[in-house]
Subunit: 498 residues, 2 copies
């Protein structure tokens, strides 16, 4: 078996491979605070690229950024019954506003500084933002309100996994208010489309757009739409959600407006979000047994130039060549901006240097030693296609860099789409379903007839499976629910999920 | 007296004027959580522009962004004695991780879910980041570490004022580790220079670079440098700080490295930060009795085009003209990017439209009615110079927009510098000092000889005055401390402060 940079391989132990890729690519690490991670510079730079692009897309669809308090008064959670149920169980509760000497050299919360009302560290901000919107909205002229917030949130998860499920995570949460149900539903759908566009065209991660079943809805929502992706272990990842909240939160927070005809009505609201979980999705979509593989559109650096030299004399020849190559490459463009080039001039072994960049997933490596300088070329390797790379004339590298990056971006998408296609089936009986999801089977995504309800939920739970969504582009088709035998009009998507 | 858009005026009641400008310009509002504010879209957009520019400057000086946990274990604070003293008194303490039904229809912290060790919501991150750095640093080859974090922090202030002092605020905190004291001190100074550059060239706010006296140092720092600005009420605002932490935090957090010669030594660290307080500084530097005035380089929109029409017929003439003017203006550049133009096509009264943009402080207004369309012109007003504006030919407006913005940027700086110059004095006796800072005197910044110590601090405190800094470019000059009569080699800057 070929030696790989990551041990274990995906085949050997997928969950452990995932952790090792994160470590080897220097993306993140666990912190001294239970369930919270430290996002390291290389991982954070990927998140920044995601943010920048999403932010542009939100602004292009008319949204503005704002910032709301980190804390939510406990009483705010009490107002929306389902919402309490969903979030009260796993939150960080602030009860004091001062520490004091504990008499034995340490500190303790000061009993004299107990808050009258405990505060919750926001697990999501519908309640606090809704209370603010209630002040902003008076008349139909104030609508729509289209707001986004980039923030940190905390959900006290007991079992955490870096990027996928952490106690604190970074995200954006959109919150909008509308005069009609139709307009709010259009907004909900529009933002789902934005997420799908981002996932497919930037993350190179194909997704299914769908509607959640009742049991998987956001607590308090009338309807939850989501994008669902398939990871390399054939498990599904919910990568973004867009909620139509109806008038539920407007009633709980008293968001009312005077309509054109003078009536006072509750408004219609939506919320939608994606988080640092997307970085986890990126890893599990594209990384391989040698480490991270970053789609060029989100890569902090598109090209790593690696000068390889044995002594100061060689260094004096190689380095200036690398610097001028860097400038030439940076004069090229990709995805509407200058190509990002990193020149790694650290004085370390060539092999170490190479493997660090392989593991970090930089799209293109250009290794350059004295011989390459002499031959006016570079040893060029694209991260997504195997092999050691090839000697390439300098002019060809520079002229072809844009195309190379475009091809890699497309190849990552195609590769992920192919795996998903190969692992997607239509199943028509519980027997087929059980076989497909048997422990020793590869699994994947199964399109099945279903009747949404407690019976289906219970059976899925017992099998550790989930209803992912009811595809928005699904065709109408009569059939029998494989769980209950009831009449069904459309297939849903079922899978194991993160 | 001329009618002003803001009541009261600066002259009448400066603190209340400040609050009213924030309200009239739609920058922020108080929230439902004590001491926390909601930053509204127009205010947040100013902060985003600040962030973008500062982030570029940090990256240009070799720093990378990362993200560390919101929470700090209580025991971490205990490790650095001065630091505890500085921050334990005013922090948010998380003690539980779940809410539970309180038996009477409400919620309460679940006694079954009490944390073994309380967590503090970060008031600043030296301790948690230091603990992480201790893992990252092994050898001199790992140094320097140059990290920045954009984050929210919480300090439980009892008396809050929007942007200037709030319980939660947004900021950036740089944290770096170095192999030598000299290098860490250079970093401390470099980042102060970055802040000063940003304050003067982007915020149009002149600053004094200086060293803090012992009593004003960051808790745990060896040396704190700061930039100090003067507001229109002649009080000083500390606008950014850069701390040389010596080995204090490295020892508390055990950040050690093996030097080239093989010795194991504690590293040298720095930290530096600016916050949303800068938005407060911007308001108090430039706003006037008609509302906000935003320096063009930080303005969310450079130009507001205001179509003025009475009916649909006029609208049909005016709007297309405004749209094409918008496109022409956007094709111009300012500060290295396209001119930002906002076309306000809301169907509201012309006067209301105009005054909203005056109060929001947009640099240039172009009001356009049917007559302007006919005359191929616009009614143009620059926010910083009084008067109603003038009729300007369209071509002239487009061709001159860049220069107009540059001139306004410069004028704001000059105006602020002039006020500071007029309000800055050298004082040589306590008598002069008391007269200068008498309650009915205008006050300002006083350069005085001093001997740093408890006696001076006590006298200043009694007069509600503060030592702002010891200017870095101050000349050596023998003199007598006005507080103690002791020998002094240099003047310090004294002022009332925010």
């Amino acid at each position: 078996m070929a030696k790989t940079a990551i041990t274990p391989t995906r085949e050997q132990d997928y969950p452990e491979w995932y952790q090792q890729v994160i470590k080897a690519a220097d993306l993140a690490e666990t912190s001294d605070v239970r369930g919270c991670m430290v996002i390291k510079p290389w991982g954070y730079a990927i998140w920044e690229n995601m943010q920048r692009k999403l932010d542009d897309m939100f602004k292009a669809t008319g949204h503005e950024n704002a910032y709301f308090p980190l804390f939510i008064p406990m009483s705010f959670l009490e107002k929306e019954a389902e919402h309490v149920e969903g979030f009260a169980k796993e939150c960080a509760v602030v009860t004091h506003h001062r520490l004091v000497d504990n008499g034995s050299g340490g500190l303790m919360p000061d009993p004299q500084a107990k808050l009258e009302e405990p505060l919750i560290v926001r697990p999501t901000s519908e309640t606090i933002i809704g209370a603010t919107f209630a002040r902003w909205v008076q008349s139909y002229r104030d609508l729509p309100i289209l707001i986004n917030q980039w923030a940190n949130v905390v959900r006290w998860e007991m079992r955490t996994r870096m990027f996928l499920r952490t106690a604190e995570f970074l995200w954006q949460e959109g919150h909008t208010v509308h005069a009609t149900s139709e307009e709010a539903q259009e907004e909900t759908r529009q933002m789902l489309d934005v997420y799908a566009d981002f996932a497919e065209n930037y993350m190179a991660m194909p997704v299914i757009k769908g509607r959640k079943t009742a049991g998987e809805r956001f607590p308090g929502a009338v309807d939850t739409l989501s994008i669902e992706a398939m990871m390399q272990d054939r498990k599904a990842l919910q990568a973004g959600t867009s909620h139509f909240l109806g008038q539920n939160f407007a009633k709980a927070q008293d968001i009312k407006f005077q309509s054109e005809s003078g009536d006072l009505t509750h408004a219609w609201t939506t919320s939608w979000g994606v988080s640092t979980r997307l970085v986890g999705g990126l890893i599990m979509s594209h990384a391989d047994d040698d480490g991270m593989v970053i789609p060029p559109k989100l890569a902090p650096a598109h090209v790593a130039i690696l000068p390889i030299y044995k002594n100061d004399e060689e260094r004096a020849v190689v380095l200036p060549y690398c610097q001028s190559l860097k400038a030439e490459l940076e004069a090229q463009t990709f995805d509407g901006a200058a190509v990002r080039v990193k020149l790694d001039d650290r004085d370390i072994r060539g092999g170490d240097k190479k493997w660090q960049w392989v593991k970090r997933g930089v799209p293109i490596r250009a290794e350059i030693g004295p011989r390459d300088v002499k031959g006016e070329g570079a040893f060029v390797a694209r991260r997504d296609i195997g092999g050691k790379g090839t000697g390439t004339p300098r002019g060809e590298l520079v002229a072809g860099i844009t195309k190379m990056l475009e091809e890699m971006q497309q190849n990552l998408y195609d590769r992920a789409a192919k795996l998903r296609e190969e692992s997607t089936v239509e199943l028509n009986s519980m027997d087929e379903f059980q076989k497909f999801f048997a422990e020793d089977a590869p699994g994947g995504m199964a399109y099945c007839h279903f009747v949404d309800g407690a019976e289906m939920e219970a059976k899925l739970k017992a099998m550790k499976l989930t209803a992912r969504c009811i595809p928005l582009d699904g065709k109408e088709e009569k059939g029998k629910c494989i769980f209950t035998g009831g009449e069904s009009q459309q297939r849903g998507v079922f899978a194991r999920a993160y």
